[in-house]
């Protein structure tokens, strides 16, 4: 009875997994159909299969620019975040100071207030800092990561103190300790953080949409939205599918290769 229950459960979940995959299957299949196929909805269409949709999408969009901008924004955010979260994480992990709990609480609350929610005031801040319609303007609200700070705090706390103490005895400053001793040891934690940070910022839409208006500052998500609306206007669903694949592709490929690492990075134990 138990075994049958398990099998039924697995079959049900398997069926749901198939359902879950349908949008991706359609995306792959439709992207190689010739234009104006009447059964563009079919998941198992007959040949011919063509590459013209990818060519069309490449030409009507500005994918090289979008890739570049997205890479700059995501890597830029990550770089600054690595600095801010390592320094702050170390402070919380190893130093005792007044108002530590209060400041920690300030960071905690930030987890619940993502940048898109504060788009109205953040936009005015950008304008007054002359950062409107610039890539740094898009990056700015994400540079402090409460999540990253907690991650690094946790990681640092779990490292044995021996190396630090030796370094302290040798007269090393906090910064030197962080850079030479702790970060190398905390690499796995940083890597996990990098995965989460890159993925979530690659996929951001609303803030980059509002923070920048020129096409030269568009990121992939914003570019996809405008490209798709134009292609949909022409009824070019194959082109829409191809363009979507080009936007989602890089992360999907990375996922296929680094699956285990990536899922481990996203999963956190909430119980200890």
């Amino acid at each position: 009875m138990k075994a049958k229950g398990l099998t039924v459960g697995l079959v049900l979940v398997g069926a749901l997994a198939v359902l879950w995959a349908i949008p991706f299957v359609w995306m792959l299949v439709a992207s190689v159909r010739p234009g104006f196929s009447p059964d563009i909805a079919s998941l198992a269409p007959p040949p011919p299969y063509v590459a013209e949709n990818y060519v069309d999408a490449w030409e009507s969009g500005s994918f090289p620019l979008w890739y570049l901008n997205t890479a700059i924004v995501c890597l830029g955010i990550l770089l600054i975040q690595c600095i801010t979260v390592s320094l702050a994480g170390y402070a919380f992990a190893r130093l005792n100071f007044r108002f530590r709990s209060l400041i920690f609480g300030l960071f905690l609350v930030q987890l619940l207030l993502p940048p898109p929610l504060l788009l109205v005031p953040n936009l005015s801040t950008l304008v007054s800092l002359h950062l409107y319609d610039t890539l740094p303007g898009i990056m700015a609200p994400y540079c402090a990561s409460a999540f990253g700070v907690f991650l690094m705090r946790q990681t640092f706390r779990q490292l044995p103190r021996d190396y630090e103490e030796a370094a302290l005895l040798d007269g090393a400053s906090n910064l030197q300790i962080i850079w030479h001793v702790l970060l190398p040891l905390a690499a796995p934690g940083l890597a996990a953080f990098a995965v989460v940070s890159l993925t979530s910022h690659w996929n951001e839409f609303l803030w980059p949409l509002i923070a920048a208006s020129s096409p030269r500052n568009q990121v992939l998500t914003v570019g996809l939205a405008s490209f798709a609306s134009g292609a949909e206007a022409g009824g070019q669903w194959g082109v829409v599918a191809a363009g979507t694949l080009m936007v989602a592709g890089p992360l999907l490929v990375l996922f296929a290769v680094f699956q285990r690492r990536i899922t481990a990075s996203f999963a956190f134990s909430g119980i200890k």
Binding site: I22, L108, L113, F255
Partner: protein
């Protein structure tokens, strides 16, 4: 490491200096993060509250007052957006958490098949919500879209999923569940991995069925994970509106308008910064309220085991 033996006094003095310096060092170390936090999280809250309290009408200078809030609460579109958000919250949080738990329970194993199935559920997390929006725009096209195309084989008439006010919010909710369930599943998987197998073994020896074991051991121990996922899901309800903006614009008849898309409309389309600011204040207040009741949960939830 030098093999020097230090007298106790020599050790004490550096420690005292270190604790006095610790306050300054901590401040310096925290400054970069705090700078960004203050500039883009806390100062905006102050600023948007001030803006919301500045009542400005066409062609006149502004005065301080609660006029914007009065207008907000008497705006039927806001009431509708608030109601929609509440419905949307239930319609997305419940299914995505239930499914996430179900997936996690079923796919704890290490086989290749379970690994593949887990990946299929996690895939939506890796793509932007607007990419999901472009795909689902086609899938949900009345008549020619994939859903109607295959449902027609079962004799179902053409359904206008995104154009029928009674269906549109459901469609948007379904897309959200599709996007998030796999992500929440990962949290549950980690939570399940933290349940000591000895407990299960002992219970089985005592003759407990799988269901009893799930009910009495697994679920209670997953409590903190539940709480954490719930908080994340609640924040997502307020923040994930990309598909609404791109697919329906809040329509038809405002039936898919959510709080953040309402804010976006007032700020950008209707050019009404006072109303947008007031609505932002309301949303922030909701989340701060959530923060108050969930601070402990958050703190516990963001652990990482390398």
């Amino acid at each position: 490491m030098s093999d020097v033996v230090l007298p106790l006094s020599a050790l004490a003095a550096p420690a005292r200096r270190r604790s006095r310096a610790a306050g300054t060092s901590a401040l310096l170390l925290l400054l970069p993060s705090l700078g960004f936090l203050l500039a883009f999280t806390y100062w905006p809250i102050v600023q948007v509250t001030a803006r919301a309290l500045l009542v400005q009408r066409f062609g006149t200078a502004g005065t301080v007052g609660v006029g914007n809030f009065a207008r907000l609460f008497s705006d039927p579109a806001f009431a509708q957006a608030a109601a929609n958000t509440a419905i949307f919250a239930v319609a997305t949080i419940v299914p995505s958490i239930v499914l996430a738990l179900l997936f996690a329970l079923a796919l704890q194993g290490t086989g290749a098949l379970t690994g593949l199935l887990r990946s299929l559920f996690v895939l939506p997390m890796m793509v932007p919500l607007v990419a999901a929006a472009t795909l689902f725009t086609f899938l949900l096209l009345p008549g020619d879209g994939l859903v109607d195309h295959y449902l027609a084989r079962f004799g179902l008439d053409m359904t206008n999923w995104l154009g029928d006010p009674s269906l549109a919010l459901g469609a948007i909710s379904a897309i959200t569940v599709w996007k998030n369930a796999g992500y929440y599943m990962l949290f549950f998987l980690a939570g399940l991995a933290g349940v000591p197998p000895e407990l299960h073994e002992a219970a089985t020896l005592d003759g407990a069925s799988a269901w009893t074991r799930a009910r009495c051991i697994t679920l209670p121990l997953l409590g903190p994970t539940f709480a954490f996922v719930l908080v994340i899901a609640a924040v997502n309800v307020l923040v994930q509106v990309d598909h609404v903006i791109v697919m329906t614009g809040g329509g038809p008849s405002g039936s898919t308008n959510l709080l953040l898309s309402y804010i976006y409309q007032q700020a950008q389309q209707n050019n009404d910064p006072g109303l947008a600011a007031a609505a932002t204040v309301v949303s922030v207040a909701c989340l701060l309220g959530l923060a108050l009741v969930s601070l402990r949960t958050l703190e516990r939830g963001i652990h990482y085991e390398s």
